[in-house]
């Protein structure tokens, strides 16, 4: 069955980044411009991988994460965030509740989005990260 990916982010260019990066992979990539919309989509079609923005108006990332976990504690959820202490404070509350999530550091380019997605959705589930030649 075709693997499907959900991207929840209020910024159109971020949603577009994921869509473009994962074009031609054969995965079904769906996007949601709000937490509420994203939750609804997850309820209707269990996704194999979710990318979730932290900082959104309305339901913010941590609230969406909590709601997702109520429905499904297995789906890998990657919280897409610039690593900033202030945002992390919200995540600490999530951590305390023992809710599982992974971190994806923003900004991330297409090559790395593809690498990560493959490592999650393909067997054997691990992949090597090349040295960044431009550092």
């Amino acid at each position: 069955m075709k693997k499907n990916v959900l991207v929840i982010d209020d910024d159109a260019v971020i949603r577009k980044s994921f869509t473009l990066a994962l074009e031609d992979t054969g995965y079904q990539v769906d996007t949601a411009e709000s937490g509420e919309k994203g939750l609804e989509m997850q309820k209707n079609a269990r996704y194999d991988l979710i990318f979730l923005d932290l900082n959104m108006p309305g339901l913010d990332g941590t609230q969406v994460l909590q709601e997702i976990r109520k429905l499904d504690d297995r789906v890998p959820v990657y919280v897409v965030t610039a690593f900033y202490q202030q945002f992390f404070d919200r995540l600490r509350a999530i951590e305390k509740e023992g809710i599982k999530f992974e971190l994806l550091k923003k900004p991330v380019d297409g090559e790395r989005i593809l690498l990560l997605t493959k490592s999650v959705l393909e067997n054997p589930g691990c992949i090597r990260q090349e040295e960044d030649k431009d550092e």
Binding site: V13, A82, Q86, P107
Partner: protein, 405 residues
């Protein structure tokens, strides 16, 4: 483009602002209750606590209106005697005004004028001596650094921007801007990479797209550096333990031993025996020593006499660390500014001038003090004091966090 909308800053510091407003609402509710129950008598200390919260919040969200209200309230409270005070209409007014101002802030109805913020930052960078911590004291032009806590307390009542708050403002501005840039940067790099993937290599646009990708990566790297800097300045108290300053110093000297030998610098050390350990984040203290000795090594490059002396001893309730070099010394006009962010006398490309600024922050977060004395032609002396009393270290940290550092 001339106004930084308050909303942007608030978006970034939402959590902190909300918790401060919540605290203020609590305080106000308690005050209201007291007023009802005790017929307008309230405990002075409750009022003080409220004013303190207001004051603290003004430091965090940088809103002059709140600062004005907090200042006015504090002035009134200073004049009151006794454990309880009758709430006069003007006090009640100020208390309510304070909460209203903060709520308005959160409703994003106010904007901060970009020019105003830039002006305050500039003033902080120039280091007005009388009102600043960490600036030159006008009596001894040769020494600069942190003032002792009681001196700091005197000026903070009327302080507009101390150097410490200036650093905090810079940090806030940097973080907010960096964050705003992250999304478009991510968008651009992905859009360009997509185009590259779908442009044949022999197409003349391919090379241009590659350049675009390069330049975008360069922008991202710059934004990362900015964010890392702002993180450095606002890092907290993680990883604290009891550690010996002598041990840290030895570690630093050892890690620099290759450079010391290569530059043919003679290093002497004089460590007192049996010194008690200090409650610290070892990596931060290590970073500070490393920075100062590293600077000394750079200063000695052009010097005939190449000597660094390191002394660690006890001075009352502090461990005193002195690092002196026989270098060319620091010009008096530069001496005022060495602890400021982005100040550097090195040629462009060699460091960005953050080392001493970060060191100042590190030491102050430990409740310590760092000062510098220097005379051109006679070398430079740094003195670091770290408190032995663990409670003092923690109290200083809490105080700084409450005042919106």
């Amino acid at each position: 483009m001339n106004r930084i909308h308050r909303a942007e800053l608030i978006k970034v510091f939402n959590e902190e602002s909300h918790s401060i407003i919540d605290k203020m609402r609590e305080d106000l509710a308690a005050l209201n209750k007291d007023m009802r129950d005790k017929n307008n008598d309230v405990r002075t200390k409750d009022l003080f606590r409220y004013a303190h919260t207001l004051w603290g919040s003004s430091g965090t969200v940088g809103f002059q209106e709140i600062e004005r209200i907090a200042g006015a309230l504090q002035e009134i409270l200073m004049d009151l005697n006794g454990a309880s005070v009758k709430l006069t209409p003007d006090i009640i007014l100020l208390v309510t005004e304070g909460v209203e101002a903060c709520e308005t802030l959160l409703e994003q109805k106010e904007v901060i004028n970009y020019q105003e913020l830039m002006g305050r930052l500039r003033k902080a960078a120039e280091g007005k001596p009388k009102k600043s911590v960490g600036a030159v004291s006008t009596t001894t032009k040769e020494s600069v650094g942190t003032q002792l806590p009681k001196e700091r307390g005197k000026s903070s009542k009327n302080a507009h921007l101390t150097e410490r708050e200036g650093i905090s403002e810079v940090s806030m501005l940097i973080a907010a801007t960096a964050h705003e840039l992250n999304n478009p940067m991510m968008g651009i790099i992905n859009l360009v990479q997509y185009c590259l993937k779908h442009t044949p290599e022999d197409d003349k646009r391919h090379a241009v797209l590659q350049d675009t990708e390069q330049e975008t990566k360069r922008c991202i790297a710059i934004v990362k550096r900015l964010l890392a800097f702002s993180l450095l300045l606002t890092a907290g108290q993680e990883g604290r333990k009891k550690e010996s300053c002598t041990a840290i110093m030895n570690k630093v000297l050892k890690s620099l031993s290759y450079n010391i030998e290569r530059e043919k610098v003679s290093v002497t050390h004089d460590y007192s025996e049996g010194l008690p350990a200090v409650w610290m984040t070892p990596s931060k203290i290590e970073q500070t020593f490393l920075n100062i000795i590293g600077n000394a090594l750079d200063a000695l490059k052009e010097s005939e006499k190449k000597q660094i002396d390191v002394k660690v001893r006890r001075k009352g309730e502090f461990i005193q660390v002195r690092i002196s070099d026989s270098g060319t010394g620091i010009d008096p006009q530069n001496l005022e500014r060495i602890f400021q962010p982005f100040f550097s006398t090195k040629p462009a490309g060699q460091g960005v001038g953050l080392g001493l600024c970060v060191s100042l922050t590190n030491i102050e977060k430990h409740g310590g003090k760092i000062t510098c004395e220097s005379k051109t032609g006679q070398g430079t002396k740094f003195e670091i004091l770290l408190p032995l009393d663990r409670r003092k270290t923690r109290r200083e940290q809490n105080e700084k966090e409450r005042s919106g550092n």
